[in-house]
């Protein structure tokens, strides 16, 4: 299955392309929490991501193989993608240790030490049978600097070779690699070249540490809960998307908040996955253009409106907030209905992003989006910075930035040349550092609170 990627519209760094819908949905244990596959088809979901780590634990890759592969097991005939398993291991397990051989960890089932090698990761993914599989990479935290990053990068390249050698089904499953190198552009370039040489069918860039070279660039973001640094987050994304070839899609793993998706799309990313929509639904939170709606809150008890009057999903056409208020967190059906709505919302967001780029009105869309989310103009600083790099003028959305002093201009992107991190800020407005008004801490904290 060759993935075709064709850019059909662009604005500065943002692109709209024909590949798949620019969104994934994370699935966990062969199912999206609480939805049948026919409901997912109704919403428009095209590709589902499977967690190799969890699947290998239960029901085990052998069983899935016996059942004829994951497609048949869960009866989903659209696309499937599996991760290598390494990321979960390192981020979920306390005593994971990475050596040249592979990732050693304590098995959660019985506490015995186990080893996940590149070969084994590929073997498991072969058995599961997804359309796209990932090579095992040496995962390091996004913000780490020093010799560890270099070590990870070179090791990833060595592991790629092992993965390629171990891959049993190269004609049915596309292997994607991940580009490493942290925030160091030199290391990144070495990695990119190394992967390109190996001529992999697919490329992934992982946010921060891992960058894959494949048909997709996958960015893997090491999500540190409770205070992730949004500032470094967008810079990493900007850096990676700038460095990666234009003609391949870029996939940022773990990005789910709608605001983050809009920002990353403006910076040039194409695909995302996240547990956020369904997880937040189980806590009674619905996604709407204005942000989030906490249906648990008692003011919802009397609210006769649908969750989102502009949404055309089944849930918004049938039920009121008041009824959902009494269902959420108490009845299974509540989380089901909210998951349905949240996923429909994400699908709609992706579609609107795509169309707005194709139809040449992307900046308007971004401005509308930000105005809806921040009606008081308190757009967070990192968003302002990111949009500036992306070349989108959002001064009309930011209360503090409507001063005439501020000037945002498009960043020239030289063909074939990857602007490095240092150059990006300077490239703006002929070398002078742009004037950015720092928003107050309270406003910033409020914006964070909105998403918690």
């Amino acid at each position: 299955m060759a993935l075709r990627f064709e850019v059909i519209g662009r604005f500065n760094r943002a692109r709209a392309a024909q590949l798949t819908l620019p969104h994934y949905i994370v699935k966990h244990h062969c199912t999206i929490k609480g939805l049948t596959y026919s409901q997912l088809e109704d919403i428009g979901c095209q590709i589902i991501l499977g967690n190799t780590y969890h699947l290998a634990l239960r029901p085990t890759a052998e069983l899935i193989d016996d059942m004829g592969g994951l497609h048949k097991f869960m009866n989903w005939d659209r696309a499937l993608l599996t991760d290598s398993g390494g990321f979960q291991m390192v981020s979920l397990l306390h005593l994971a240790d990475i050596t040249e051989k592979g990732v050693t960890f304590q098995s959660p089932a019985d506490g015995q030490p186990m080893l996940l090698t590149p070969e084994e990761s590929i073997q498991i993914q072969n058995k599961i049978g997804a359309d796209i599989i990932m090579a095992l990479d040496d995962v390091v935290k996004t913000t780490i600097t020093g010799p560890r990053v270099e070590e990870a990068m070179y090791r990833t390249l060595r592991w790629i070779d092992r993965c390629i050698a171990a891959h049993q089904r190269p004609h049915e499953q596309n292997l994607f690699g991940i580009v490493q190198g942290g925030l160091d552009p030199v290391l990144r370039d070495i990695c990119v070249k190394g992967l390109v040489e190996r001529d992999l069918p697919g490329e992934l860039t992982s946010k921060g540490a891992n960058l894959f070279d494949s048909h997709l660039w996958q960015l893997r973001y090491w999500w540190s809960f409770g205070g992730e640094d949004k500032d470094s987050f967008w810079r990493v994304v900007a850096q990676c998307t700038a460095a990666l070839p234009e003609d391949k899609p870029r996939y940022v793993m773990g990005v789910g908040y709608p605001l983050d998706i809009v920002v990353c799309s403006a910076l040039g990313a194409d695909m995302y996955d996240c547990v956020y929509p369904t997880r937040t639904a189980r806590f009674g939170t619905a996604l709407i253009p204005e942000g989030v709606l906490k249906l648990k809150h008692k003011v919802m008890a009397n609210d006769e409106r649908p969750i989102d009057p502009t949404c055309s999903c089944m849930v918004c056409k049938t039920y009121t907030r008041a009824y959902l208020h009494c269902l959420v967190t108490k009845d299974a059906l509540g989380s089901q209905l909210l998951s349905y709505h949240n996923l429909a919302y994400m699908m709609r967001l992706s579609k609107e992003l795509h169309l707005s780029i194709v139809e040449g009105r992307f900046p308007d869309f971004v401005r509308e989006f930000l105005k809806a989310q921040f009606p008081r103009g308190d757009v967070p600083e990192w968003v302002c910075n990111a949009m500036e790099v992306a070349g989108i003028d959002i001064s009309s959305c930011c209360a503090h930035l409507s001063a005439p002093v501020y000037k945002a201009s498009a960043i020239p992107i030289a063909d074939g040349e990857a602007p490095t991190f240092g150059k990006e800020i300077g490239a703006n407005s002929s070398g002078a550092v742009p004037l950015l008004v720092i928003i107050s801490t309270e406003d910033f904290l409020q914006a964070i609170h909105f998403f918690n």
């Binding site: 244990h29 062969c30 199912t31 929490k33 609480g34 939805l35 049948t36 596959y37 026919s38 409901q39 109704d42 969890h54 239960r58 029901p59 069983l63 016996d66 059942m67 004829g68 097991f73 869960m74 009866n75 008692k298 008890a301 009397n302 006769e304 089944m314 056409k317 049938t318 039920y319 009121t320 008041a322 009824y323 009494c326 269902l327 108490k330 009845d331 299974a332 059906l333 989380s335 089901q336 209905l337 349905y340």
Partner: protein, 419 residues
């Protein structure tokens, strides 16, 4: 509402009857009886969204809802005391909320038939100690509620169900005689009060505990009133299966034949058959809900008259896993079982998913397991009711019932000898 008996069957006394309940107003469909009303939590099935409900391909559009469990959950803030529902502050809210279409509109199910009764076998159980001459007491997730007839009627008029039962004082089987007598008196008195407030579409409640005389007395009294049908309560609260037929008969014998009869609290297939044999038309049951929660799926053959067409079981019946009527999908036997829950079943779950998949979902505690199981179990049980109606139509209900019970007995016996 129009109800008409179309056929009767059943050996000696011919009491089993098939009928048609025809709609009016927003409900334009007809429901064939004996019918199963689907139990709901707050108006919707426990796990299935309405669009998915077409997946069990049922033409039944009838749901049962407890008036109380619906209202108290909607009007009460989670932390608030339950009595906020019954204060004047609570009332205006309910009126506004349900002004337009009542329950049907709130749930987005305009074409469904809703029947409301006071008691819900899962969430709102009657509490006999709490009930007094003023009102009936129920144990709900928001605490104990005392419901007076006027309040009850206000809820009913807000919900606007198609059919509703009057407030009853249900007592369990072990209640003493004096208490039982009191419950009958109260129920009849409340019946009169409810009718006075809204004389349309009601089902008169008939109680009487385990006493044959009280049952007959209550039935006779209620029969004198001008009601559209009868709701027979007080079952499923501790009486044994042996005494039930007599009690049912004591009630039914004193009710006019042409009016609808509805019993709450009978769940198992054998109990349903008993009820049908006694002449009951509508049932509601928590059987499906409990099965689904337990990870069990119904597999008993629906057509027992034709023994040659028994559905094949992959494994010999063993009591822990498969007693011939239902299978426990959490069991490791089904880990690699690629067959659907029941071969030949036309529901969404059996057409699209395997036992192995559901086994996996149950193991990882995914909600989808309950969704798929509820779809299958509902479909299967509704199919059971279809078989009953068919048997009555052909005049072979007795034979159907007999062979059904015998086949279950055979399986139990063989499973006991195996284990």
């Amino acid at each position: 509402m129009r109800f008409a008996v179309k056929a009767t069957s059943g050996g000696g006394n011919g009491k089993a009857r098939a009928g048609v309940l025809q709609g009016w107003g927003s409900f334009q469909h007809s429901v064939e009886t004996p019918a199963l009303l689907l139990s709901t939590r707050k108006g919707l099935p426990s796990f299935i969204t309405p669009t998915s409900s077409r997946l069990y391909r049922s033409r039944t559009r009838a749901s049962f809802t407890s008036a109380l469990s619906t209202c108290e959950s909607i009007a009460c803030p989670p932390h608030g005391p339950c009595c906020s529902l019954y204060t004047t502050h609570g009332m205006p809210f309910i009126k506004n909320h349900f002004e337009h279409g009542g329950l049907r509109q709130m749930l987005g199910l305009p074409e469904h038939l809703f029947v409301s009764v006071g008691r819900d076998s899962i969430d709102s159980l009657p509490v006999i100690e709490g009930t007094n001459k003023l009102g009936a007491s129920f144990e709900t997730p928001s605490g104990r509620l005392l419901v007076r007839p006027e309040k009850y009627m206000e809820i009913i008029s807000s919900l606007k169900p198609n059919l509703w039962a009057t407030l009853a004082d249900e007592v369990p089987a072990w209640a003493v005689e004096k208490r039982n007598k009191a419950s009958v008196e109260r129920t009849i008195r409340w019946l009169d009060e409810c009718i006075a407030l809204d004389p349309v579409c009601d089902l008169g409640a008939v109680v009487g505990g385990s006493s044959l005389e009280e049952r007959s007395r209550c039935a006779k009294e209620v029969a004198k009133r001008n009601v559209s049908g009868y709701w027979i309560g007080g079952f499923g609260l501790g009486e044994s299966m042996e005494e039930r037929p007599a009690l049912l008969n004591a009630v039914v014998d004193n009710l006019p034949e042409e009016k609808l009869r509805y019993v709450s609290g009978l769940g198992l297939p054998e109990e349903i058959l008993e009820g049908v044999a006694a002449g009951i038309d509508l049932f509601d049951s928590t059987y499906i809900y409990h099965l689904t929660l337990g990870g069990l799926a119904l597999v008993f053959p629906l057509d027992t008259v034709d023994k040659s067409r028994r559905s094949p079981f992959d494994f010999p019946p063993s009591s822990a896993v498969n007693d011939g009527t239902k299978i426990n999908l959490s069991s490791t036997i089904y880990r690699k079982d690629k067959s659907p829950i029941l071969e030949g079943c036309g529901c969404f779950t059996c057409r699209n998913h395997t036992r192995a998949y559901i086994n996996h979902l149950l193991n990882v505690h995914e909600m989808l397991a309950q969704i798929l199981l509820e779809i299958h179990n509902t479909h299967h049980y509704l199919g059971f009711f279809r078989s009953i109606r068919r048997a009555i139509g052909c005049g072979t209900f007795d034979m159907f019932r007999q062979s059904f019970i015998e086949s279950r007995r055979e399986l139990f016996v063989s499973s006991m000898t195996c284990s």
